[in-house]
């Protein structure tokens, strides 16, 4: 009686049904394999060649990587990335969380406030770059305005200060993304079961404890999503720096993305540019792969 059924025993409709999903998914998969992974492989290859203005195929081994790590600007760029990413991610998360918690208090006018917090995400720095530059510029911006209003000792010249400029960039970056993080947390908060909160209140939890012990732990998925999105925005930050400081004063605000663009396209050192891109990709992978692995395995269960 027992026999092994193979697909040939299935009717046409069932067989089609088994194949259709794969067939329909195939174009997307193909596109991504080619246009993303193929191109990554290409970049990896270029990083071992002496490509300058255009790709060349002359193998030079690890030379580009050796040079890359001798370039001072790359050091600065990596240091900046660490500072920038840590501050950007943590400040965005904190502000996003605060705004979300505040907005979740049945606030009047939420419908007006929410788009105000959210809209910067809609604007690229090509649009807002000049305004930001002015705003941060001590001669015409906020510092000058406070001086005009009579607060003479007020000083805010980070954008002009070699040591502080990267923090000024963080301000603009936080401005752009924190509203988006707010939206994610707000969605998370709205998804929490009211009964749980009631139970906690009956247990006598104060508001602070309610948030710290009950609500925040429930927002874990929102935290993770925010971390991933902010992390990848931090690593890819490019427009921001170009619009605000162009990497200056000096090279004080260079980031890996600006470094890579500059070496690949402005300085005709595509080999070194590619090597820096590979390092960037490795950094992204180091953050993303464990996250993806954990996340996808959890889903399976």
């Amino acid at each position: 009686m027992s026999m092994n059924l193979t697909t040939t025993d299935q009717d046409l409709k069932t067989r089609l049904q088994n194949w259709l999903p794969k067939i329909v998914l195939a174009p997307s998969f193909g596109l991504v394999v080619f246009f993303v992974y193929g191109f990554i492989a290409f970049t990896l290859y270029l990083s071992f060649t002496n490509s300058r203005m255009l790709p060349s195929y002359e193998w030079v081994g690890w030379q580009n990587y050796e040079r890359l790590f001798q370039i001072r600007e790359w050091d600065i760029a990596l240091n900046n990335l660490v500072i920038f990413a840590i501050l950007y991610i943590s400040i965005c998360t904190v502000i996003g969380l605060i705004l979300a918690v505040f907005l979740d208090q049945k606030i009047r006018g939420e419908g007006v406030l929410r788009p105000i917090f959210l809209y910067p995400m809609a604007l690229s720095f090509i649009v807002t770059g000049t305004a930001w530059k002015w705003f941060l510029d001590p001669a015409i911006g906020i510092e000058n305005t406070f001086h005009l209003w009579g607060w003479q000792s007020f000083s805010f010249d980070w954008i002009k200060d070699r040591d502080m400029a990267i923090y000024a960039i963080v301000i603009a970056a936080v401005w752009q993304s924190s509203g988006f993080v707010m939206a994610m947390f707000l969605a998370g908060l709205r998804g929490i079961d009211d009964e749980l909160l009631k139970a906690a209140q009956i247990d006598g939890a104060s508001n602070f404890n309610l948030y710290r012990r009950i609500i925040l732990p429930q927002l874990r998925p929102a935290f993770l999503s925010a971390f991933v999105i902010l992390g990848h925005l931090a690593i890819k930050s490019y427009d921001l720096v170009i619009a605000l400081t162009g990497g200056g004063p000096g090279n004080a605000t260079a980031l890996p993305a600006t470094f890579m663009y500059s070496y690949s396209f402005t300085r005709n050192q595509m080999g070194i540019g590619s090597a820096s891109a590979v390092i960037m990709l490795l950094t992204i992978s180091a953050i993303m792969v464990p996250y993806l692995y954990a996340e996808l395995n959890e889903k399976k269960r």
Partner: protein, 416 residues
């Protein structure tokens, strides 16, 4: 479901349709002359061509002093459809010629005698292995000082003729509460100043040895240290908020009477003219003291990319139109620069223009015409940017003059 399929079908179809933006009788021109005046000047060229029956496909890409345009160019060449003509500076032309991507304009050049009317320092960029590959549009000289006449008069400052009198003049302005030197803290602006300062310290021989021949002794030598020291002096005359400032805002400081001088290329003149000022009256122009008699230049040229068939014809027509005296005059009056040909009357130019043309001819004749390091006419972009890094880091106080000179040697070595 059906509409999903049809959307996909449309996408597939779309990838199959081939469209080309330029037809054979058009010239497609990639450039970054996007401001009102520049674009207006360029439309002179467009009209010339349309009179001869050639269309103009405009492809402006502004940003980064042309670097974004160069990125786009790379994408276009890689894609296999380069534009007909590309605005280009200095060594980029040589790099593209080296790749074999440029057309040969020799027939036209011989016919129109380009080699006798274009200074040989420019020809070094327009030709590759003795073949003309680009048509020069203009010559910008970069070692100019722009001065506010009113402040000069008020403080009794004469046009400085030496470094010392230049410094003295600025000190006077500073003491009087003016910003002595209007400056924008961007790498290329700092390099522009450094160009003139280095020329002033060491003269043509030193300039050539350091920036063109990349001689380590010159790059790291005492004269270079002195040049960096002079930069520190200038830093003392710059206001606090210079960092990141666009050059035209710095120019506006001179125009508005907030600042005495600005060291900037001749494109700054457009700002004065636009503000209703006249050369020699509200503002003055003179060479950076110490660099008199020499001209450091950059030259916008139209590099001609290899195109097929009748497009090549349109391309030649364009090259010819670019080199025509009418266009050279019309364009350069607007742009503030001087014509790339030295055989043109200066009649229609203003005082600064006339001065510039005369000095260009003189410097070309005496061999004191040099490509500007700051503007990519002394060496390749990688070297140029490596020097930028050091100059801007030093100017922003990252290290002292001696270290800067040493750093310059290392940076250049790494970038070679």
């Amino acid at each position: 479901m059906r509409s999903i399929l049809s959307v996909k079908a449309a996408a597939v179809l779309a990838t199959c349709i081939s469209t080309s933006t330029a037809s054979a009788q058009d010239v497609e021109v990639l450039h970054w002359w996007t401001s009102g005046g520049e674009a207006a000047a360029l439309s002179v060229l467009r009209e010339d061509l349309s009179e001869s029956g050639y269309g103009w496909v405009d492809m402006p890409v502004a940003g980064g002093g042309g670097s974004d345009a160069m990125t786009v160019l790379r994408a276009r060449v890689t894609a296999g459809n380069p534009p007909t003509a590309v605005q280009m500076l200095g060594f980029a032309i040589q790099d593209w010629a080296k790749e074999g991507a440029l057309s040969n304009l020799n027939d036209l050049a011989n016919e129109q005698n380009w080699s006798t009317v274009v200074p040989s320092a420019l020809q070094a960029f327009s030709t590759y292995s003795a073949n003309w590959v680009a048509a020069p549009v203009n010559v910008h000289s970069t070692n100019w000082v722009w001065a506010n006449s009113k402040i000069m008069a008020e403080l009794g400052i004469e046009q400085p003729t030496s470094w010392e009198s230049f410094i003295a003049a600025m000190q006077a302005a500073k003491d009087a509460g003016y910003t002595a030197l209007a400056h924008g803290g961007q790498a290329w602006q700092e390099a522009t100043v450094f160009d003139s300062v280095a020329m002033g310290v060491g003269g043509p021989a030193f300039y050539k040895a350091a920036f063109i021949d990349l001689d380590s002794d010159a790059l790291g030598g005492a004269q270079m240290v002195e040049a960096f020291e002079r930069m520190e002096t200038l830093r003392g005359f710059v206001d606090e908020n210079f960092s990141g400032r666009d050059w035209n805002l710095a120019t506006a400081m001179v125009i508005n009477g907030e600042a005495l001088f600005q060291i900037m290329g001749d494109w700054a003149k457009g700002e004065f003219v636009n503000a209703g000022q006249t050369a020699g009256e509200e503002f003055k122009c003179f060479r950076v003291p110490g660099s008199d008699g020499t001209v450091t230049f950059n030259s916008d040229q139209f590099a001609m990319f290899k195109v097929e068939g009748s497009a090549a014809e349109a391309q030649l027509a364009m090259a010819s139109a670019v080199m025509s005296p009418e266009f050279q005059v019309a364009f350069n009056i607007v742009k503030g620069s001087v014509p790339a040909r030295t055989d043109i009357s200066d009649e229609e130019f203003d005082a600064c223009g006339k001065l510039g043309m005369a000095q260009l001819a003189q410097a070309a004749a005496s061999g004191n015409l040099f490509g500007s390091m700051a503007h990519g006419h002394a060496n390749t972009p990688s070297i140029q940017n490596a020097m930028y890094d050091v100059i801007t880091a030093h100017f922003n106080g990252e290290y002292d003059a001696a270290t800067a000179a040493a750093e310059l040697v290392t940076a250049v070595e790494l970038a070679k």
